[in-house]
């Protein structure tokens, strides 16, 4: 008796509730993610994004409601769900003592893939880590750690990848690198559910966006659909105050202004 939408939905949540003690974090979350799409869960800090990801990746049990991933129930078929997914948590979960290569080989062995070495070499090249492969992960920059983290998640080619705030704390350059990785994943047919608090990130990457606010999804759809929710544009006249940049430039003289 599965609803018809479940046939194409690779991730589905219905009426999921979760409280920590008296604190209600999720108050009935429904969401559906189509196979091969990039789905962004948008929300401010404390909205419950990480809790959604943890329930879907079998790390937390929901108090009520159902959730399935790749056709498997997250609480009754946790083992099969874990076979189908990969989780990249909020903080790059790499082993600092090991080198980049050793981190990848560790995951490859735990995922029981054939030829761990070949897969590792391939991923190192794909994530531009070949040169740094034999340095310890503790010596990596924030962007490199994140790339290694995501590379570790792709071993074994799981059909569903969860990225929990993949660009939080990264500099703009590293952020763009992660975006490119996500786009590439989507091209390869992997389903990606990512959480973010950056609106432009959702706008750039996601096929569909859901806004999670105070434990429920208050809006969802494609970017175009969400734009229609907004009130129509109206014209307002606002007095323009000088910006600090303009003050700065007028103080230091016109030479700099001409150069810039």
């Amino acid at each position: 008796m599965t609803p018809p939408a479940a046939a194409t939905a690779v991730i589905s949540m219905r009426g999921v509730l979760k409280s920590y003690g008296k604190l209600e974090v999720l108050r009935g979350v429904d969401l559906e993610v189509q196979r091969g799409s990039v789905f962004a869960l948008l929300g401010s800090n404390g909205a419950g994004k990480t809790t959604v990801v943890k329930i879907l990746s079998t790390l937390l049990k929901a108090d009520a409601g159902t959730a399935t991933v790749n056709g498997f129930d997250v609480s009754r078929q946790a083992g099969q769900v874990r076979q189908s997914i990969s989780l990249t948590g909020q903080f790059a979960a790499v082993d600092d003592v090991l080198t980049g290569r050793e981190n990848l080989i560790l995951v490859a062995k735990l995922r029981h893939v054939d030829a761990p070495d070949a897969i590792t070499d391939d991923l190192l090249a794909r994530f531009q880590l070949t040169e740094a492969a034999d340095r310890r992960a503790s010596a990596y920059s924030g962007g490199m750690r994140r790339r290694l983290d995501i590379a570790m998640s792709l071993i074994g080619k799981p059909p569903v990848v969860f990225l929990d705030e993949p660009t939080t704390g990264l500099d703009p350059e590293a952020r763009i690198e992660v975006w490119q990785t996500v786009k590439q994943l989507a091209q390869d047919g992997t389903t990606v559910l990512l959480t973010t608090q950056y609106l432009d990130e959702a706008e750039h990457l996601a096929d569909r966006i859901a806004i999670l606010h105070q434990g429920t999804i208050i809006a969802g759809g494609t970017l175009a659909e969400l734009k229609q929710i907004l009130p129509p544009a109206k014209v307002e006249y606002v007095e323009k105050q000088p910006t600090l940049e303009e003050i700065f430039l007028s103080l230091v003289g016109s030479n700099e202004r001409n150069e810039s």
Partner: protein
């Protein structure tokens, strides 16, 4: 999933052994503190301590070594709490939990690593004791028995260490549990005979696990047939092991559910 238990545990044990190889200071500090204590007790206090043959008489290194070995283990197991807490903090614990691996492998890998690391530290301590004049009449079988008792004691204390490793809020909290464990040998027959102690202290010393374990190892090292102490020692070790393991598993299930 249990089909992968052995393989996954081997892979994860290899990982944490590599941690130790890259920071061998964890083994050095485990061995260093008991060695310093051994030097102090033998060369400073030893001359004044009467182990039953008159003050300063007899081989005090022989008398002292079993207790020193237990102190080494008690401080060594705190690294299990340290490494486990580090895994939880760093998020790699969650990564493992979201992967299709045998669930208890993560804990067993840390426990097996503790056995290996402590064994290496104990070998270093025994080596220094030999240089300081430790002599034994133990035969091969006695050595096997000593090794077995020490491994069992390490295993029991390591499972105790797993509990703060999983539940602590701070790194300091995770390792603080070992301080009372390190102190236990002082209230036992490890340094002085218990019959020199005042009533309540003596009662405690004679009825706590360290005394029976120390007496057992001392008997085995001296080549005597072990007294009834060995059964009390084994009962303590197995009892602590089973209790700590059960508690650790409850805490672990709560942590991962």
């Amino acid at each position: 999933m249990n089909a992968h238990f052995l393989g996954d545990t081997t892979v994860l044990t290899g990982r944490s052994l590599r941690h130790i190889l890259r920071s061998p200071d964890t083994i050095i500090t485990t061995a260093l503190m008991p060695i310093a204590m051994m030097l102090m007790f033998v060369y400073v206090f030893g001359g004044a301590i009467d182990t039953g043959q008159g003050a300063g008489a007899g081989n005090y290194v022989n008398y002292l070594l079993p207790g020193i070995l237990l102190i080494a283990i008690a401080s060594g197991v705190s690294y299990t709490a340290f490494r486990l807490f580090g895994d939880l903090q760093g998020g790699i614990f969650e990564r493992f939990q979201a992967m299709p691996i045998a669930r208890s492998s993560v804990l067993w890998a840390h426990v097996l690593t503790s056995l290996v690391a402590n064994a290496v530290a104990l070998i270093v301590v025994v080596g220094v004791a030999l240089l300081m004049g430790f002599r034994t009449g133990a035969n091969l079988f006695d050595w096997f028995a000593v090794t077995g008792v020490l491994l069992l004691f390490t295993l029991a204390l390591t499972w105790i260490a797993v509990i703060p490793g999983l539940t602590a809020k701070t790194m300091d909290g995770a390792v603080a549990f070992s301080y009372p464990l390190i102190f236990l040998p002082f209230l036992s027959s490890a340094f002085v005979p218990t019959d020199s102690m005042p009533g309540p202290v003596r009662w405690f010393a004679e009825n706590q696990p360290v005394t029976s374990i120390v007496n057992t190892i001392r008997d085995l090292f001296s080549g005597q047939t072990a007294s009834a102490d060995i059964w009390i020692a084994l009962a303590w070790c197995v009892g602590v092991l089973v209790t700590a393991y059960a508690f650790a598993m409850v805490v672990y299930r709560r942590r991962i559910s």
